[in-house]
């Protein structure tokens, strides 16, 4: 294929799309537009090793600068896309330049959901999405300082673990009655709550932030029950909002993200969307989903590139995720929102176990804590909808592979 392809966004999905478009035989002009000042870099280490100062910044790049030259990809960094003209098939940038396209690939990602309570603008209140965000947090980290983290999802808990490791005094405030409540079962929450407590993290559940105090720097957090927590710095990790505005303002359909079909195509067949910014139909789960994950960004980039180049490919993957907190490797496969039973494989007290989410006899998701084998096997068991014998499933001495009902 020849012509012009423009990619908006410069993170995991975009970097993979450059690679996949060329691999699929796109030989025309390829432009990558990113509003951050640097080449696509890995985000997962930001809340973990990079925050803890154990990761050299040069190692964050997904691909070296030479890759984009070799792929004949024009990289426009520090530039924001401001409008799509669908009739003319062109994209306007904030410097006034206009890029024509035959296919436009939106990989706009998400932005952090801001805290809206009084005092939210004080200095020392941080978010975590970009490398610049983490450099800002790191400048505030020192042993003995008091870090208050708002939100006990993946980002909040990974930050808590990284800060505790660096010798800060860490408090985590969470509105819900348990940690990671949107994504894991109560058994998993209980395990992680105990692990954080054992590392000295003060975890406050059912606690809603009412205001931040201080000035010009934050000095404390006030909660709706009147409790107060002194703070030298605050990290807010309450989720992301998909960046849909560029698409929505051009009249492209949005539904919890830029809505795409199984070919990563939006309501405009010349415009594709991939990664955190889009919602897509999941053939396996039979509903529309939006994922915030590197794996999904990577797979959708490959799917979109193939379809742009005229090779029809459907996106139908079982999603997976990972989270590192302290020495524990959590690997998640599948989506656990729709289940009727949880079966544990192994005893959480041994710090190596899996939590199986079932709908009837079908495994819909699995969380593996220091149990990589179950994670690997579960990918296949979920995809193939293998009916399981629940008794054998709950016996960690029986491999997950052998837990299927006899045919």
């Amino acid at each position: 294929m020849e012509g012009n392809v423009v990619i908006v966004g410069a993170s995991h999905a975009a970097a993979q799309a450059v690679d996949s478009l060329r691999r699929e035989g796109f030989s025309g002009r390829l432009v990558l537009v990113g509003d951050e000042p640097e080449l696509p870099y890995q985000r997962p280490p930001l809340s973990k090793k990079y925050l803890a100062g154990e990761f050299d910044p040069a190692r964050l790049w997904i691909r070296p600068a030479s890759f984009y030259e070799q792929q004949r990809c024009e990289v426009r960094l520090g530039r924001r896309a401001v409008a799509i003209d669908r009739e003319r098939q062109s994209l306007a940038l904030d410097d006034g330049s206009v890029l024509p396209y035959d296919a436009l690939l939106l990989a706009t990602g998400g932005r952090v959901r801001p805290a809206t309570v009084p005092g939210a603008q004080l200095a020392g209140i941080h978010y975590l999405r970009t490398r610049a965000d983490v450099d800002g947090i790191r400048a505030d980290l020192a042993p003995g300082r008091r870090a208050v983290i708002v939100g006990a999802g993946y980002i909040g808990l990974e930050c808590a673990a990284s800060c505790a490791k660096l010798g800060l005094s860490v408090t985590v405030l969470e509105m819900a009655p348990r940690v990671m409540s949107r994504v894991v079962a109560p058994e998993m929450s209980a395990f992680y709550q105990a692990e954080h407590a054992s590392h000295g993290v003060d975890l406050r559940l059912n606690t809603t932030v009412a205001a931040f105090e201080g000035g010009p720097r934050v000095s404390g957090v006030v909660c709706s029950d009147g409790s107060r927590f002194p703070a030298d710095l605050v990290i807010v990790g309450i989720g992301i909002v998909p960046n849909v505005e560029l698409a929505a303002e051009a009249g492209i359909a949005c539904d919890n993200g830029i809505a795409v079909d199984e070919f990563c195509r939006t309501s405009d067949p010349k415009v594709y969307a991939i990664g955190d910014c889009c919602s897509h139909p999941s053939p396996h789960y039979r509903r529309r989903i939006r994922l915030e994950s590197v794996d999904n960004a990577f797979e959708q980039a490959k799917t979109a590139a193939a379809n742009i180049c005229g090779r029809e490919v459907r996106h139908d993957k079982i999603p997976w995720f990972w989270s590192d907190q302290y020495d524990h490797k959590l690997q998640i496969v599948g989506l656990s929102q729709d289940y009727d039973r949880v079966v544990l494989r192994g005893d959480p007290a041994t710090r190596s176990f899996s939590c199986c989410y079932l709908k009837g006899r079908e495994l819909v998701a699995l969380d593996a804590v220091n149990q990589p084998r179950d994670f690997m096997v579960a990918k296949k068991v979920i995809a193939e909808r293998v009916p399981l014998d629940l008794g054998r499933l709950g016996d960690p001495a029986v491999s997950l592979k052998e837990a299927g009902l006899p045919a």
């Binding site: 690679d19 590197v294 990577f298 590192d324 490797k329 990589p372 084998r373 690997m376």
Partner: protein, 104 residues
């Protein structure tokens, strides 16, 4: 720098300069015909699978249990399988010969 001999998925052998002190994955990821390495080296995804030439296998530290478990469940698993994110490239193993495993 240490030499790394990489056999790609088409069986073509390449001699590349590998980065010392970091994992083999970080060199392979930068090659056009390299590895995906989705998790970025956390030993969490098994998308940086390689085969280590038998002559070199004994010169590398043995894999940890978590790496072994991930490897053994790959359909392309062989006794000389490794995750390249868990193999550190040092000058002492300059000339290390590895093959990129097939996509799963």
């Amino acid at each position: 720098m240490a030499d790394l001999i990489v056999v790609d998925r088409d069986g073509v052998e390449h001699k590349v300069e590998g980065k010392v002190g970091v994992s083999v994955m970080e060199t392979l990821r930068e090659l056009d015909w390299g590895v995906a390495a989705i998790c970025g080296g956390m030993c969490s995804c098994a998308t940086c699978h390689i085969y280590v030439d038998d002559a070199w296998l004994g010169k590398l530290p043995a894999p940890q249990p978590d790496e072994k478990e991930l490897l053994q469940e790959l359909s392309g698993y062989q006794p000389n399988s490794r995750l390249s994110c868990q193999v550190q490239l040092e000058e002492s193993v300059s000339g290390l010969r590895v093959s990129i495993a097939p996509d799963e």
